[in-house]
């Protein structure tokens, strides 16, 4: 595209990536595609007890399934929820994509999604999503995980992070208004969410959207609490906002009262030296 002054600019489209796909695909291309797809498969590994249960054709009996996505949500869960001795690690979901490399000093499991189950009440399952799940893997992840869980009587809560820059409102947001929570729920969800509903034209994407889509079409009661924060890394103030989401789950999940959040926060790795 040429501008008024005759400069030629490359045009970027919001909607489509490539002009034309090459239609002539030979056997080699197909093979490469197949191998890439195999490499991007989501793998679920359960402990022996759960795998035995699943292999005998049963599903995980679960009444509450809590998913934490994003820095703040995952750290909130590890600090306030699964930090007590009352939780067992029951499985992992690992996957490979370009942005999901194993960080030095972490085991493969730590950089995956970890499933925890309450010892006293095994029908409470928590999943901590510690890795980036690519757009093409979201649907598969959701299908595979939910295929292991008994949908009847299931109630899903998703805690998710987002930047306040992604939140649109006609009023000007002053810096004191963040962090705040917004909710979205499926039509099978009964009751009142603990925070205001996400206003149009705001949307959610990523794993929370994939879970919402799945649960909406399968009539599973689900609520997503999306926290909009103005801090890039994990911070204690943002984590506190998730506490309100647990007011309804108070009987099944006890939050650790004296969680020392500060000890847990490390400086985030600097990805680029542009803005040091």
């Amino acid at each position: 595209m040429a501008t008024f002054f005759g400069e030629v600019l490359s045009v970027y489209s919001r909607a489509v990536e490539e002009d034309e796909e090459d239609l002539d695909e030979n056997e080699e291309d197909r093979e490469i595609r197949r191998e890439l797809e195999e490499k991007r498969e989501v793998c679920l590994q359960w402990n022996t007890e759960v795998s035995e249960c699943l292999s005998s054709g049963n599903k995980l009996q679960c009444s509450e399934f809590i998913l934490a996505v994003g820095h703040n949500a995952t750290r909130f869960v590890s600090k306030y929820v699964v930090s007590s001795d009352n939780w067992d690690t029951v499985g992992h979901a690992s996957l490979w994509n370009e942005r999901n490399q194993v960080i030095a000093g972490q085991s493969r499991e730590e950089s995956a999604c970890v499933f925890y189950r309450q010892k006293d009440n095994p029908s409470v399952l928590v999943c901590q999503v510690n890795c980036y799940i690519a757009e093409d893997q979201l649907f598969q992840w959701t299908e595979k995980v939910f295929a292991c869980i008994q949908p009847r009587g299931l109630s899903v809560t998703v805690l998710s992070d987002s930047s306040v820059a992604d939140y649109q409102t006609s009023d000007y947001l002053s810096s004191s208004s963040a962090p705040f929570l917004r909710s979205l729920h499926t039509s099978a969800f009964i009751g009142q969410p603990v925070c205001p509903s996400l206003e149009q034209p705001n949307i959610v994407t990523g794993l929370s959207a994939a879970v919402l889509n799945h649960c909406q079409v399968h009539h599973i009661s689900t609520v997503v609490y999306q926290c909009y924060s103005d801090v890039i890394g994990p911070d204690s103030v943002t984590m506190e906002t998730y506490k309100s989401a647990f007011t309804k789950l108070g009987e099944t999940i006890k939050l650790s009262p004296n969680a020392d959040v500060y000890k847990f926060i490390t400086t985030t790795d600097i990805q680029s030296n542009l803005y040091i």
Binding site: A15, V16, D136, S170
Partner: protein, 262 residues
């Protein structure tokens, strides 16, 4: 995979399907938004597929507080029974490696539902036009052979221009080389059209040459163009209606500005 809404068992036999192709400027999707919002259409189901990037939001067409908290997903089907009209809205991009699969899925769904005809609203990069296309109207159409049998007279009467086929590499290939269909920036439009030709599905593509930017005027142009054929707003009770933009179109250019600026 089509999943009907609870307490809904829609039958699409003899319905007309209007759907967008996710294409440059999102013109087709905006036009479909206008149709759903103006005709107050009812959601009857979802298209639940791994070919689209997941997204969710609250009701984009809500008129009052009561129906605002309704979850909407990346691909949904709406109907207006009295007009025998069904609309598929797609709200997310197609995952690139899965565009072929998505075309096949759509074609088999269209076939199984028994739609009488399908109209795809699409767009193409304006800067790819040749000299002849630059001089004429920016609207084009394409029809499959079985659609041509159905609507030959109507199309002749409308006097629309058909999308030109161009030579693959002008000047480089021989002049008598077979010209091909070329829809840059049209997403799945071409794939869907060729698959429908092969499957003998009555399908028409209406497309508009445009550039990225504020594509709301383009959406109005395309939906008006469609209306001159399908007469959606001419039915009783709707004659004087104008297209109604949905509330979700607000804040297209971002949030409010800080009051301290003034």
């Amino acid at each position: 995979m089509f999943v009907p809404s609870p307490q809904c068992s829609p039958s699409f036999r003899a319905f007309t399907l209007v759907m967008p192709a996710v294409a440059v400027g999102n013109v087709g999707q905006l036009a479909v938004d206008l149709i759903v919002s103006t005709l107050n259409m009812r959601r009857v189901g979802f298209l639940h597929t791994d070919c689209l990037i997941p997204m969710a939001g609250n009701n984009p067409y809500s008129s009052d507080k009561e129906d605002a908290d309704e979850l909407h997903t990346n691909a949904e089907v709406y109907t207006a029974e009295d007009l025998k009209l069904a609309v598929l809205q797609i709200r997310a991009p197609v995952i690139q490696a899965k565009s072929k699969k998505f075309c096949q899925l759509l074609v088999s769904w269209i076939k199984s539902c028994g739609f009488s005809r399908t109209v795809v609203l699409s767009s193409s990069h304006a800067y790819h036009r040749d000299d002849q296309q630059l001089r004429s109207s920016p609207l084009r159409y394409l029809v499959t052979p079985s659609m041509l049998k159905l609507s030959k007279d109507a199309l002749e009467e409308l006097g629309w221009s058909e999308m030109e086929r161009v030579s693959a590499f002008p000047g480089l290939t021989e002049a008598n080389a077979e010209p091909r269909l070329y829809i840059p920036g049209g997403g799945i439009t071409k794939g869907l059209y060729t698959d429908s030709c092969a499957e003998d599905i009555p399908l028409a593509v209406l497309l508009l040459f445009c550039s990225e930017g504020d594509n709301v005027p383009d959406a109005f142009a395309l939906v008006d163009h469609l209306n001159s054929w399908l007469h959606l707003l001419d039915s009783p009770g709707l004659e004087a209606t104008k297209w109604k933009s949905p509330p979700s179109w607000s804040l297209l250019f971002g949030s409010g500005i800080p009051p301290a600026l003034f």
